[in-house]
């Protein structure tokens, strides 16, 4: 069964690394639902959050293929893990003087805030789980959404657990014990 998987990928911050990752996913016929890239806590290491749709074993194969890229340091499928996954959306919604206060109320329900306004629009910034942003958009649809940009989620595990890079990962041990190739290190 195809499901959504959220991969946390730590990569060396080299020119072309995004190209390598995206090109690999394309070559293995993977649809990228969303991808975000930014700095991590370590200098020289970027963190990507990639949302793909596929069967578990396909996603495991993608994890292993990603590890074959020299720049890839760690791949974690955080989907089954207890994590916070939030995205940011900017929504420009049509707003007349009659509807403005209603829109403000809706925004409040979804913990979104208004960051800009014009005589005919409101610009709303929303952060949170994708489902929360979906809910807000659903409520605002009726007013007319002029423009929308969503970042796609970034994810981090709850508690003290991290996805940091371990030195000298032993792949077959994890494969044999856990049967989970998503954390495989390979070259």
């Amino acid at each position: 069964m195809k499901t959504r998987h959220m991969l946390s990928v730590l990569v060396e911050d080299h020119p072309g690394v995004l190209n390598r990752v995206v090109s690999l996913l394309r070559r293995r016929s993977f649809n990228i639902d969303s991808i975000t890239v930014g700095h991590s806590e370590q200098p020289g290491v970027s963190r990507m959050t990639i949302v793909v749709i596929g069967r578990d074993e396909e996603v495991e194969q993608v994890g292993k293929q990603l590890y074959k890229l020299m720049e890839v340091l760690k791949v974690t499928d955080v989907t089954p893990l207890n994590c916070v996954a939030h995205e940011l959306a900017l929504i420009k919604v049509a707003a007349k003087s009659q509807t403005r206060s209603e829109i403000l109320q809706i925004a409040q329900i979804y913990d979104a805030r208004v960051v800009d306004a014009s005589p005919t629009t409101l610009l709303i910034e929303a952060t949170g789980p994708e489902s929360q942003v979906d809910g807000l958009l659903n409520m605002l649809k009726a007013f007319g959404i002029r423009e929308l940009v969503r970042t796609g989620p970034v994810a981090m595990m709850r508690g003290s657990t991290t996805v940091g890079v371990k030195e000298s990962i032993r792949p077959e041990r994890e494969l044999a014990v856990a049967g989970n190739g998503a954390t495989l290190h390979a070259n």
Partner: protein, 585 residues
């Protein structure tokens, strides 16, 4: 790696540039740095073709400590480098210019990628201020080759040049080997920098596993001890690991018969009763029958390629599968694996050897033997009028006592050679397995002969493939290489014709291929050409070719519509293979 300080680089006028600053390291031009790095890697041969972006680099070649082989087409540089690498076990090196020079390499890189051949490819790039401006002979070769290289580099700073070479050779030759490309802007060749070759490489994202998990090795040993109908499936990984001796010891100790992938031929002698030979689409009948019947399949260093497995759902349906591979991404990619062992084949074999018991499988061997197809041997006793392809291959094996390096192109002749040469030694069988590159045979023979001048080299090529790379005869002549070229000439693109014959109702669409008179073509290149039109002429022609120094071409004119038997139809399981009798009455 030896960091020699005594080798003089470049042409005599360049000597002045080797100033010694306070660090004690020589200051060299980028061109000299490239040459020195190749020398420090122990490179003795570079296959290349000059052009605009690499003129400054070629300026430094005359004094360099390696031999440059001028090929006749950039693709042949890559394929010759592959032939060299496969024959010697050392990385092959090729060097071309930017733009079309670089794009012509792509097929060779893809070929090396699919067959895990260690290679370092050097391409020139336009001068740095012009990069990204669609300059003359500019292409984004690092972008283009992303999926067909293990890794690639566009070097932007002169100080990165030597470390990039160190890393490229490390990546190409360790873990699962493969091609690595270094793209160097012309400007860098002319800049100067201190030369110090790094001693070691450290990349956080590259830590190939060489030693296996002992628990997995024990599970494999346990499976071997329990199996009643076991098989070893021997792949290229055993050769790449240099582990044929260990593998032979393991086979002899366990008494388990060996089936080979196309690239795994030569891992265990086919002259031994346990060496069963080729599996898969054109595998021997008893080999595919054994795969169908086996209760344990131990795959060592093969990737369950579709031409080996046939339809995967019907592949080795009764087998418990152990898969030993250095690349974890191959585990479970195509075939379900019960016991994965991720490590270098040699390391696993060493440990496995001490874990397994002495054993024999007489009943199993007798069963396999009973499945042999004897029809072919019987058919050949009739001595047909045409030079029969099987007879040609077998005569070649007999006359050379199976010691020769054999390279091939792709198609019918390749399968005939794979089925019937009978490979008994490692690294003597050089063929394009994964990519199936026509034109491979001659340039790879050039590379193989240069790498192993002590060995006899035969290139077995179809008349179609030979017309792709026959221009490489000029290189063989220029280098005065003692190679023998056997063109298996049926006037068709034979394998496509065979598929049209069997699966497309004999609709021979665009497969009839004319050719020049190959004997005269050979003479035009100043070499001996021999034409063979009958069975009786086969052996004398082979013997005559061997007696002549330098390249010789034999044109074997065979029956136009000879087919390769048996064949597993595309999409079918190996058990559904078709045999000659069934098809031709």
């Amino acid at each position: 790696m030896a960091t020699t300080g005594t080798i003089v680089l470049g042409t005599p006028r360049d000597h002045g540039s080797e100033k010694r600053p306070t660090t004690g390291h020589p200051v060299l031009t980028g061109s000299q740095i490239v040459c020195r790095a190749l020398e420090d890697e122990g490179v003795d041969t570079v296959f290349g073709y000059p052009g605009g972006a690499v003129i400054p680099l070629y300026d430094a070649l005359p004094g360099a400590g390696f031999h440059h082989v001028l090929v006749r087409f950039e693709q042949w540089a890559a394929l010759a480098a592959e032939g060299y690498a496969r024959a010697t076990g050392k990385p092959g090196v090729c060097l071309v210019t930017s733009g079309p020079g670089a794009t012509n390499l792509v097929t060779g890189l893809a070929d090396a990628m699919l067959d895990s051949v260690p290679m370092v490819a050097i391409t020139g790039q336009v001068i740095q201020p012009l990069i990204g401006r669609d300059a003359f002979q500019e292409v984004d070769i690092t972008g283009i080759t992303l999926p067909v290289t293990k890794h690639n580099y566009l070097v932007n700073r002169i100080e990165d040049l030597a470390p990039t070479f160190k890393e490229a050779f490390h990546l190409a030759t360790t873990g699962r080997p493969g091609p690595v490309l270094i793209d160097i802007p012309k400007t860098l060749f002319m800049q100067k920098h201190e030369y110090a070759y790094p001693e070691s490489v450290h990349r956080r994202g590259y830590q190939p596993t060489s030693v296996p998990n002992m628990r997995q090795v024990r599970l494999a040993a346990e499976a071997i001890s329990k199996a009643r109908k076991p098989l070893f499936m021997a792949g290229h990984g055993i050769l790449l690991s240099g582990a044929t001796d260990l593998f032979r010891d393991l086979v002899l100790k366990t008494g388990i018969p060996v089936v080979n992938t196309l690239l795994g031929l030569g891992t265990f002698p086919e002259s031994h009763p346990l060496g069963l030979g080729l599996m898969g689409m054109h595998g021997h009948k008893h080999v595919n029958d054994a795969l169908d019947e086996c209760d344990l399949l131990v795959n060592i260093g093969a990737r369950f390629d579709d031409r080996a497995t046939g339809q995967v759902s019907g592949f080795a349906p009764n087998a418990f599968v152990v898969h030993i591979d250095i690349d974890p991404a191959e585990i479970g990619k195509n075939v379900h694996t019960d016991v994965p062992v991720v490590a270098d084949a040699g390391e696993v074999l060493k440990l496995l050897l001490s874990e397994v018991q002495q054993d024999r499988h007489d009943d199993w061997m007798a069963w396999i033997d009973s499945r042999r197809d004897r029809a072919l041997d019987e058919a050949l006793e009739e001595r047909p009028a045409w030079p029969e392809p099987y007879t040609i291959i077998k005569a070649m094996a007999e006359v050379t006592r199976g010691e020769a390096i054999v390279t091939t192109d792709v198609g019918q002749h390749q399968m005939w050679a794979a089925q019937h040469f009978g490979f008994n030694h490692p690294d003597r069988w050089i063929t394009s397995g994964g990519l199936g590159t026509m034109g491979f045979g001659l340039p790879s023979a050039v590379g193989a002969k240069i790498g192993r001048p002590d060995l006899e080299v035969w290139a077995i090529i179809g008349d179609g493939g030979f017309q792709m790379s026959s221009n490489e005869l000029a290189t063989a002549v220029q280098e005065n290489l003692d190679i023998n070229i056997a063109v298996i000439n049926n006037g068709y693109l034979g394998m496509v014709r065979q598929w049209q014959d069997l699966f497309h109702a004999k609709n021979y669409s665009e497969v009839k291929i004319g050719a020049p008179n190959f004997e005269k073509l050979a003479e035009a290149y100043g070499i001996t050409g021999i034409t063979v039109r009958s069975d009786a002429e086969i052996r004398p022609a082979i013997e005559r070719a061997r007696a002549i120094r330098g390249p010789v071409l034999i044109d074997f004119v065979i029956e136009p519509e000879a087919n390769v038997w048996p064949i597993v139809p595309p999409g079918a399981a190996n058990s559904g293979m078709l045999h000659q009798q069934r098809f031709e009455g």
